[in-house]
C-alpha cells in the first residue's frame, strides 16, 4: 500500500512538473466553454437578404421596413431583375430573396390577397427553413395589424407554454453538450496517451516488473487524472452558472457525483484505447478521429437523436456522452433526482465496468 501511494505521488509530481501541459489542460476547456457559450446559437440573426420589388408601393415599402427593422434580417441589396438573383446567390452574398408580385397593394385591396415569393438558398436547409418560417411570422404579424377591426370567426388559438426553457435559449442546449465533449475527450485522450507513452518510451515494462501489480500501475496512472478532470468539471460548472446563467434546478451534489462517474467512464475508455494501440500516435488518432465526430454528432449535443434513422438511434446508445447529456439536462434544467435518471447512471456504470474488464483482459494477454 505504501509503495502504491508512493507511486501515485510520483505520478502527481510528474504531471504537475510539466507546467506547459497543465496550462493547456486547464486553459483550453475554459477558453472553449467561454467561446462556445457566447458564440454558438442555432437561432438566426442578421441574415443578409435581397429584395426584388415589382410593385414598389406603399404596402411593400411598409413590409420591407418591418422586415429590415427586425433583428433577424438585414437588407444587403435591392435587385431589379429576376435574372440577377442567381448571381447574388452564387457569390454567396445573400441567403434569401423576397420577391413581391406586381400590383401588390392593388391586389391586397381588391382581391384581399397578395403574394410574396420567398426564395432561399437551401444549400443550408436548416437556415433556409428557419428564414422561411421567420418571414412567415413577420407577415402574419403584419396581417394581424391590418385585420385589427375584423374579428375572425371560428378560431382555435393554441396557447403555447414552453417548459424547462421558456425563453428558448440555445445556450441551455449547448452548455451541457460542450461540457460533455470537453470532459469526454480530454479525459479519454489523457489516459490513452499517457500509458502508450510509457510503452513507446519503454518505461512501461520497467513498471510492470516492479513489485506493483499491473492494476495498481493503471490505477496509479488514472488517479491524478481523475483529480485533474474533476477540477476541470468544477470550473466548467461554475462558469456555466455564473456566466451563462445556467440553472441547476436539481442537486449540485448529484451533479458532482454524476460528473465523477462520467469522468471515470471516459478515463477507462482512454485506458482501453491505450491497451489496443502500440504508439502514442495510434492512440491519439483513435481517440481524436474515432471519438470526436461521433461524440459531436451522435450524442444529441446538436442534432436531435429522435429524428435520426433507426439504425443510428441504436448506435447512439453506445455513445457514453449521450447518457451524460441526458443526465446533465435532467439535473440542471428539469431538476430531476436520481429516481428519474438511475437508468442512465446505471448504463454509464456498466460501460465503465466493461471498459475496465476489457482492458484488464488485454493487459493479461500482453504480459504472458
Amino acid at each position: 500500500m505504501k509503495r502504491f501511494i508512493g507511486f501515485i505521488k510520483k505520478e502527481f509530481y510528474h504531471i504537475f512538473r510539466d507546467k506547459r501541459s497543465l496550462f493547456i489542460l486547464f486553459g483550453m476547456p475554459i477558453a472553449q466553454i467561454l467561446l462556445f457559450g457566447f458564440a454558438i446559437t442555432n437561432e438566426i440573426n442578421n441574415v443578409e437578404i435581397a429584395i426584388l420589388d415589382h410593385s414598389k408601393d406603399a404596402t411593400t415599402g411598409e413590409i420591407i421596413n418591418k422586415i429590415s427593422s427586425s433583428k433577424y434580417f438585414s437588407i444587403n441589396q435591392f435587385i431589379e431583375r429576376e435574372a440577377d438573383i442567381e448571381a447574388a446567390f452564387k457569390k454567396g452574398e445573400i441567403k434569401a430573396v423576397l420577391n413581391f408580385e406586381k400590383d401588390f397593394s392593388k391586389n391586397l385591396i381588391k382581391e384581399k390577397q397578395a403574394t410574396i415569393q420567398v426564395i432561399t438558398d437551401a444549400t443550408d436547409p436548416n437556415t433556409a427553413n428557419t428564414i422561411s418560417n421567420y418571414i412567415n411570422s413577420i407577415l402574419q404579424n403584419y396581417r394581424q395589424g391590418q385585420n385589427k377591426d375584423i374579428k375572425i370567426a371560428y378560431q382555435i388559438v393554441p396557447q403555447t407554454r414552453m417548459i424547462y426553457n421558456q425563453e428558448l435559449k440555445s445556450v441551455f442546449m449547448f452548455v451541457p453538450g460542450v461540457m460533455t465533449i470537453i470532459l469526454m475527450l480530454v479525459s479519454a485522450m489523457m489516459t490513452s496517451i499517457s500509458i502508450t507513452r510509457e510503452k513507446e518510451l519503454g518505461t512501461m515494462e520497467i513498471l510492470l516488473v516492479s513489485p506493483l501489480k499491473p492494476f495498481q500501475v493503471i490505477i496509479g496512472k488514472v488517479v491524478p487524472y481523475i483529480f485533474l478532470s474533476v477540477i476541470n468539471a468544477a470550473v466548467i460548472v461554475i462558469l456555466s452558472i455564473f456566466i451563462f446563467k445556467m440553472p441547476v434546478q436539481g442537486s449540485l451534489f448529484l451533479l458532482g457525483l454524476e460528473s465523477v462517474l462520467f469522468i471515470i467512464t471516459s478515463l477507462t475508455l482512454g485506458i482501453l484505447i491505450s491497451t489496443i494501440s502500440a504508439t502514442q500516435q495510434t492512440a491519439m488518432m483513435i481517440s481524436l478521429m474515432g471519438l470526436m465526430l461521433p461524440v459531436i454528432l451522435l450524442s444529441g449535443f446538436i442534432f436531435p437523436i429522435s429524428s435520426m434513422p433507426g439504425a443510428l438511434q441504436i448506435i447512439s446508445h453506445i455513445i457514453p456522452a449521450k447518457w451524460f447529456i441526458i443526465i446533465l439536462k435532467g439535473i440542471m434544467l428539469k431538476g430531476v433526482g436520481i429516481s428519474l435518471i438511475w437508468k442512465e447512471t446505471l448504463i454509464l456504470l456498466v460501460m465503465t465496468l466493461f471498459f475496465i474488464g476489457l482492458s484488464i483482459k488485454k493487459y493479461k494477454i500482453r504480459l504472458e
Binding site: F38, A153, V157, T279
Partner: protein
C-alpha cells in the same frame, strides 16, 4: 530535389508499414462519412405526442386525429390528468402535450373561438420552435375546415386581408440535409486527418530524439520539411477523392461546378492545415501537448465553421474569429462549387484569403522551425 524524393519515399514507407495506422487513416474517416452524414439533421421528426381530452366531443377527437395522421408526431398517448402528463414529461417520455379544454366544442359553436393548451419541452429551443410551427399548421388547417362547416351568412362579410408567402428553396428543393452535410463532414475529415498527422509527426521525432540525428545530416531543413509534409498532402487529396466518389455514389450529392476548381482550392487549403501542423509541432515538446493543442483548435474550427450553426448569428467579435477559421472557408467553397455551381470568379476572394493564409502560416512555421533548432 533527389534528396526530397528520398525523404518522401521514406515517409511513405513508414506510413504504409504501420499497419495499425492505415485503417485509421483511410477506413475510419470513410466509415464516419457514410454513417454520420445520416445523423446530422435538424429535421424534427418522431415527436412524442400526448394529449388530455377534457371535452370528449366529436371536434376534439377530430383535432387529435389530425395530429395522429401527421407524420411528424407519433407515440400518441392520452393522459387522464395533468399530474400524470407532467411527470411523463419530466421523465422525457413526452415532448408535446395538448390539452383540450372543457366546452371546447360548445365554445367553438357559440363563441366562435376557443383556446387550446399546448406544452412543449423546450430544452432544445430550436426543436421546440419547429414543433410549434407544425402544431400551428395543423390547427390552422383545422380552423379552415371549421370555417367551411360552421360559417353563418353574417360571417361572410368579414373577410380578412391575406398575404401569402410562397417558399421556394433553391439549389436543394427537398431540403435534403445530406446534400449539405456530406460535403461538410468530408471537409472535417480531411482537415482532421491532415492536421493530426502532420502536427504529431515532427514532434514525435523530437520526442524520440531522431530529429537531432536528422539535423546533423546534410539535408536542408526546407527539404526535410517538404519531404515530411508532402505525403500528408497526398493523403488529404486522396481522402477528398474517395469522399467525393462516395458522396456521388451513396448520397447522390450533385457536383454542379468544376471539379478542377475544387481540387485546385483543396490543394491550397491543405497547405494551410499542414502549416498549422508544423507550427504546432514547433511549439510543443511532446506528442501529448501537440495533440491537445490540435484538438483545441479543431473543436473550435468545427463548432464555429458555419456547418452546424449559422455564422451570421454569432456576435460580431465571434465573427471576427471565424475569419481565421480555415474550415469555414472550405465548407463555404464546397457548398458553392458543388451545390450552386459557383465558378472561379465567385470563389476568388475566398480562395485568395486561403492562399494568403497558407503563405503566412507556412512562413511562420518555417521561421519558428529555424528558431527552435
Amino acid at each position: 530535389m533527389k534528396t526530397i524524393g528520398y525523404i518522401i519515399q521514406k515517409e511513405f514507407r513508414q506510413i504504409f508499414r504501420n499497419k495499425g495506422m492505415l485503417p485509421i487513416i483511410f477506413i475510419l474517416p470513410i466509415l464516419q462519412l457514410v454513417i454520420l452524414a445520416n445523423a446530422a439533421t435538424y429535421e424534427v421528426k418522431n415527436i412524442k405526442f400526448a394529449y388530455i381530452d377534457n371535452d370528449h366531443s366529436s371536434y376534439s377527437r377530430e383535432l387529435i386525429e389530425k395530429f395522429n395522421a401527421s407524420t411528424y408526431f407519433n407515440v400518441l398517448t392520452d393522459f387522464s390528468s395533468e399530474a400524470k402528463a407532467s411527470s411523463a414529461m419530466l421523465k422525457g417520455e413526452v415532448d408535446v402535450l395538448l390539452v383540450v379544454p372543457d366546452y371546447f366544442e360548445r365554445d367553438l359553436r357559440k363563441e366562435k373561438y376557443t383556446d387550446l393548451g399546448v406544452t412543449s419541452n423546450a430544452i432544445d429551443g430550436a426543436a421546440a420552435g419547429v414543433e410549434n410551427v407544425y402544431i400551428n399548421q395543423i390547427v390552422q388547417s383545422f380552423n379552415k375546415k371549421l370555417k367551411v362547416e360552421l360559417m353563418q351568412p353574417e360571417d361572410a362579410l368579414r373577410i380578412p386581408v391575406n398575404i401569402t408567402s410562397i417558399p421556394s428553396f433553391w439549389y436543394n428543393e427537398t431540403l435534403n440535409y445530406k446534400t449539405f452535410m456530406v460535403p461538410g463532414i468530408l471537409v472535417l475529415l480531411v482537415t482532421m486527418i491532415t492536421l493530426f498527422l502532420s502536427g504529431m509527426n515532427i514532434v514525435r521525432e523530437k520526442e524520440i530524439g531522431t530529429l537531432e540525428q536528422i539535423n546533423v545530416t546534410p539535408i536542408q531543413k526546407s527539404q526535410f520539411i517538404i519531404g515530411k509534409l508532402f505525403p500528408f498532402w497526398v493523403i488529404g487529396m486522396g481522402l477528398l477523392t474517395i469522399g467525393l466518389i462516395l458522396a456521388k455514389l451513396i448520397f447522390d450529392v450533385p457536383m454542379l461546378g468544376s471539379l478542377l476548381l475544387l481540387y485546385g482550392y483543396t490543394s491550397i487549403y491543405i497547405l494551410v492545415i499542414l502549416g498549422m501542423g508544423l507550427f504546432i509541432s514547433n511549439f510543443t515538446d511532446t506528442q501529448q501537448q501537440a495533440m491537445f493543442i490540435a484538438w483545441f483548435f479543431v473543436v473550435i474550427f468545427i463548432l464555429m465553421s458555419g456547418l452546424f450553426t449559422p455564422i451570421e448569428s454569432m456576435p460580431e467579435w465571434a465573427q471576427v474569429i471565424t475569419e481565421f477559421n480555415p474550415i469555414k472557408y472550405f465548407v463555404e467553397i464546397m457548398r458553392m462549387v458543388m451545390l450552386k455551381g459557383s465558378g472561379f470568379t465567385d470563389i476568388l476572394s475566398l480562395a485568395l484569403k486561403t492562399l494568403a493564409y497558407a503563405i503566412v502560416m507556412n512562413g511562420l512555421a518555417l521561421w519558428s522551425y529555424k528558431k527552435t533548432n
